[in-house]
Structure formats: structure tokens, C-alpha cells
Amino acid sequence: MTFDILIVLMFLGAVTAYLVSKADLKAGAYATVLFSLGALVLLLLGRGEIGSEFTILFMGFEVTTIGWYFSGVMVLVYAMTAFFNSYWMDKMIYPGSYNFLYLFSLGGTVGLFFAKDLITLFIFWEIVVWSSTFIVPMGKSRRAAVVYYTISTIGSMATLYGIMLLHRISGTLDIQGAFAPLKNDPVLATVIFFIFIMAGLTKIGIFPFHIWLPLAHGSAPHTFSPVLSGGLVKMGAFIAYMSVGILPAYEAFKGSLTVMGIPIQIYALMILGAVSIVLGTLMAIKQDDAKKLIAYSSVANGGYILIGILLMDQLAFAGSMMHLFNHAIASAAAFLAIAVVAHRTGTTKISELGGMIHRMPLTYLTYLIAIISLAGIPPMGGFVSKWLIIQGLADQGLMFMALAAFFGSIGSFLYVFRPLAAVFLGQLAPRHEELASAPLLMKIPMTILMVLILFFGVLPGWILGIIGQIQVAAGIEPVMMSGNSILAVNGVLNTLNVFMVFGFGFLIALVIFMLMQKSRRVGLMDTYTSAEFIYTPELYHYGSAFYAPFERLYARHPSVEDFLMALAYKGHEAGLMVNALFFSHKPGVTVFWITVIVAVVTLGGVGL
């Protein structure tokens, strides 16, 4: 019962937020906070009603565990980011409609995960697409919104074609029922598999369709990028799950050629996932804008999630499901930290910032814990999910996927560290001397996210329990947990032990540190400069071209972006050609074409 209230509440919330912000903008922003928190509470309360069905207007819904999990992640990200809206009210051109669209897209995402039939799924999918399309341009670039919309609509139209084809074959639109008959028809299953997953690929930002991610996340309003990268990317994962979990991919492709034990169709997509990991990492290392950097890291992590979901086995699937959650809160926390920096200094360019830790220590801590989880370093959550994915890969012996996974995880140390060193540490420029730290309302979500990342890093039991239920529902054996250690085929991970041992080590180091004399506090400029006297902190901060020697190695890399832009321009030229051929202002041209048509029909029509 609570879930239809939830969805309706969201859309009503959107309208009320709009009306309230008519009166006072700040109040409107706080309304978004209230409604998203309300949604979170409703979701947690409705935990027991998994399996119930309900309908709104003309759309049918069904609450499944995976739907509940996905919408839980989504609403959490929305709720945490909503706290930041009130600070951007004066910086946006249409703040009232921003609040409206914010809650509107939240309603869309939640509805999507509970859809019972494919048309409802598609309706809510499109709602999210067009509502987020109108938020992105409120940021720095209009082109980003158009590219974002084009690629999303390519994906969703392909999926719509898939839905219609499914309906034509199986006669029903119900999600569970529609995919059933594909089991014994591999050729058709392959076609539908590739068409239906398109929307997922475009939303996760897998290799050929990733170009919108840096554009949209990089230039969206600072308070919407966390939602874009933390939340909306997960919708794609839901579609990817549907096209592998609900569509019986593994049974349908039993007959087809297998590579390393994986059907060729699924392996092809896994290669795309691997390529997007490598590409995302390499491009992220290069970026100078912190937000673009984290956007590319979302591409890389999207690759992890896709590979995990496609494997549909005990470990990698559980790993990707948990990585979904970890990446959502970690990249949301990272984006929020960057948003605080942008709120205070007005820029997110890494080379223009430095020494932020001295002005906003809590933001620094949030960013530190977020990137530890993003990079998959214990004791944070990211480590558990990456460990599971790698164990899954090792179990099946997929070496090339493993190569990309290793490159991605080690590479992530590089690109997560770049903003840490160049934005938060290093020299503080005089112009940033008197910056205030993060306002109170921003501190709340950051602390909550920090606690969550740390908690689920040390005690992932609760999350893995839910994921186990999802796996049982999807028909694969769930990931085993005994006490607090996760049992994988070839290894055991006890996150509590890891944390305790890490604490023990930290304790010994602290004792060693405390034993010695107190050390003398020295200013940041008093460092070894081979005895030269330097007085300008800005020049003395190493922020730009952080990995120059490494970037030089792949400076001239082929970019799919130019290829797709060229393709778009070809469309533009085709339009001009059509214009020239048929729409000249001389009637003679039209007469000429009439004679051609008549000739074609009469001569050709003889045989009719």
C-alpha cells in the first residue's frame, strides 16, 4: 500500500515544491528535501510489502526486491543531494521549475523500478529522460543537454522497438511473461537482447555511448551532478539486469558459440564494459575539471557494474549489485564535496584550486572517504564489491575482463588522488585565505554519507542479505555469508577482521608517534626549496598537469567523440541535401519529380 502513496507523493511533491518556491525559493528547496526524505522513510517502512501489486491511473506496478533495492539507492542519493538545493536557488535561471523537475525525476525513477509491465517501465523511463534533460542546461552548457537527450533517446527508442517486438511475439506486456517465450528461440532472443539493452547501455554510459557523461555531469548544475552520476546511471543497470536476468539470456544462448564459457552475445557486451573501464580510467586521469573527472570515473565504474550483472553468477553479480550501492553513495559524496568547493570558490578547475583542507576540513574528510571507497580500498565499501567482482572473474577465468578490472582499480588510485592532492592539499592561495567552511545544511548529508560508506565497508552483512534475496529471485544461488565473512569460491573476506587488524596497526603506529617528542608546527611555505626564497603560494602549488608523463603516453588517442560528432554532422548535411533537392522555390522541380514518379509507376507497374 505504501508504494503507490510513495509514487503519487513524489508527483504531488513536485507540484507543491513548485508552488512553494513561487512564494519563497529557499522554502521550495527545503520542500524537495522533505519530500525526498519522506520517500526514503516510506521506502524503508514498505520493506515488508515486497511482492504486493498496485495500479495508479492506467499503469500497473509490482514491488520486487530488486526494485526496492534500486529505488532505495536512488532515493538515498536524491535525499542526500536535496540538502544542497537551497544553496543554488539564487544561482539558477528557473529555481522553481528546478525544484519541480527534481522531484518529478525522482518520482519517475521510483516508478520505473516498480513497473509491472513494459509500457509503464517505458513511460517512467521517458519521464526521467525529459525531466533531467531540462535540468542539465541550467548548468554551464546547452549542448550537453542536447547530446544527453539524443543519446538517451536513441537508447530508449531502441528499447521501445524491443518492447513492441516482444509484445508482437509473446502477446503480453507483463515483464515476467513477455520474455518467457524467447527461451526456445535463440535467434530472436539475440535480436531482442541487443535491442532491449540499448537503453541500459546509453544510461550507464558504456563505451560507444559514454560521450554524454562528462558533458552532462561536468556542466550540469553542481547540485544535480551527484544525482546524475550517483542515481540516474543506476537506471541503466536495471535495464541491463532485465535483459540478462528476466530475459532468460543464458538458457536462450545455450546453443550459441561460447567464449571462455560465456555465450558470445553476452561476452561481446562484457568486452564493451571492459573497454569502458579502461577508457573511463584513462580519460579520468587526464581531466583538469574535477567534475568531468568524477564523471569519467562513473563511466569506469559503470563498466564494472555491467560486467558483474552480465555474469549472473553468485559472486560477480552480488559484487556488481553492491558496487551499484557503493558507487552511488561514493560518487555522490565526491560530487557533493566538489559542489561545496564550487559553492565557496566558484570554480571546479583543479589547477585553480589548492589547500582547501585548511578552510573546509569536513569536506576534505568526506572527499577522502568517498575516494577510498571509489578506489576500492579497504575498510570502505568499494573494496567489498570490487573484491567480489574480481573473485567472480577469477572463478570463471575471464582473464581479459580481469585485466580491465585490475587496470580500472589501480588506475582509480591515480585519478581519485588528483583532486585530493591538487584541490584539497598543497598550497592555499591567498585569495582563498578567508573562505568559510561548508555551511551546516551541507554538512549533514556529507556526514551521513561518510557514516554509510564506512558502515557498509565494515559490516556489509545487511546489504549482502538483500542482494542474496535478489539472487534467489533471479534464480541464481545467493552469496554466502557466515558471521561477518563472505565466503567466495576461492577465498574468504571478513571485513570486520580487516577493520580490526587495520585498527590494531593504526594503534601501534599512533603509539610510536606519541612516544616521541612533540614536533614543531611550521607554515606551508616553509618547505625545502633548495634554499631559494619563494613567497608566492599560487606558483608554488603543483596542481596542473598532474600526471603529465603518463598522459604523454596516450596523448594522441583516437576519440569516439569526434566520430559521433562527425556522424551527427552527416545528418545535418543530409538535411541540407534534401532541402536543396526538393524544396527549391521553382515549381519546375516539383513537376520534374511528378513525371519521374509517374514514369516509375507506369513502366515498373507493367508486371503487376
Partner: protein, 183 residues
């Protein structure tokens, strides 16, 4: 160098001094012609590493500052800046007659004539430039001094810092200068 007979150091200090004596890292600031004497003392014939000594890249990590030659005003400013960047129990060893009394440049308008006027020098090595044997002997003496706790130049610098500072300003007008190349 006054040697006080009774030993006021605590036992812990004694142990620490034993370690400090047998592992001295040097910041060899090649200020003058003496620097060329350092390689022979490090390489196979004399090998100062057997005394536990080795070169270190930055003053932060170093214990002993070797002034290996004449000091012009500009160089002295940098030497003082480096000296202050070194960590406590630090020692200074002056090589050659230029650090003692200005050597052959005693009458130059730019060269210092008495190093310990500006920095607390624990040990001077006479010679224009001392050969590796003399340097090894000096290091041996330095080790014995540290062991006995006599190398307290750094404490002397801390206690009458203003005296040293007055002398430095008298000769150099300013220690921390701004030069056009770093604006």
C-alpha cells in the same frame, strides 16, 4: 670548545646520543672548492659509510651541515635558511681555512671571514682544502664529541638566537631576501 666534565645528560639522552653518533646523515652543501673532497671520502678508498654516514637530499632529513669552502654573502643567506630547516640535534662542520678566517679571500668585499660568527660550528677542519684523511679524522672526532654529548652547537644557537641574528643582520642586512627571479 669547552668540555664540561660532569655529564648532566639523562640515560635516555646517552642512548640517543649513541645512535646519533653512529648514524650521521649529511647535507653536503657544496659551497666552495672543498666539495670535491667529499666523493673520495665516500667511495671505496675511504668509505665514510663505515662510520654510519651518508648523503641525504634535503636539510629536513640531514643531521650534519658541511660547509666546504668560502661563503659569499648570498651563499651565507641560503646556508642560514637551510640550517634553520634542519631538525634538532644538528651539527655544523666547517671545512678549510676559508670558513676559519676567510682564507685567501680575507680581504674580499663579499666573503665571510669567520663562520662561527653566524652559525654554531661544532668542528673546524684546517687546511686549504683538507684531504679525505683529514675529513675522516674530523668525522671520527665529531662522532666522539656527539657520543660524549659535547656537540651542542644547535642548543647554543637556540639559546642565543638573537646574538646570532644580530651578527647575521650586521653582515648581511637581511637574511630572507626577495629576488626578481621568483616574483
Amino acid at each position: 670548545m669547552t668540555t664540561n666534565s660532569k655529564d648532566m645528560r639523562k640515560t635516555w639522552e646517552k642512548i640517543a646520543d649513541y645512535f646519533r653518533a653512529h648514524s650521521i646523515w649529511m647535507k653536503w652543501y657544496c659551497t666552495g672548492c672543498g666539495a670535491i673532497e667529499m666523493p673520495p671520502t665516500m667511495t671505496s678508498r675511504f668509505d665514510m659509510e663505515q662510520l654510519g654516514m651518508g648523503p641525504m637530499a634535503t636539510p629536513r632529513q640531514a643531521d650534519v651541515l658541511l660547509i666546504t669552502g668560502y661563503l659569499s654573502a648570498k651563499t651565507l643567506r641560503r646556508v642560514i635558511y637551510s640550517y634553520e630547516q634542519m631538525q634538532d640535534p644538528k651539527y655544523v662542520v666547517g671545512f678549510g681555512s676559508c670558513t676559519l678566517n676567510g682564507g685567501i679571500y680575507f680581504d674580499s668585499y663579499a666573503t665571510m671571514t669567520r663562520l662561527d660568527h653566524y652559525l654554531p660550528v661544532d668542528l673546524y677542519i684546517a687546511g686549504c682544502m683538507p684531504r679525505p684523511e683529514a675529513i675522516m679524522n674530523a668525522f671520527d672526532t665529531l662522532i666522539k664529541m656527539i657520543e660524549k654529548g659535547e656537540a651542542k652547537g644547535w642548543r647554543h644557537y637556540q639559546e642565543n638566537h638573537d646574538w646570532y641574528r644580530k651578527n647575521q643582520l650586521h653582515s648581511l642586512k637581511e637574511v630572507y631576501v626577495k629576488d626578481e627571479f621568483h616574483e
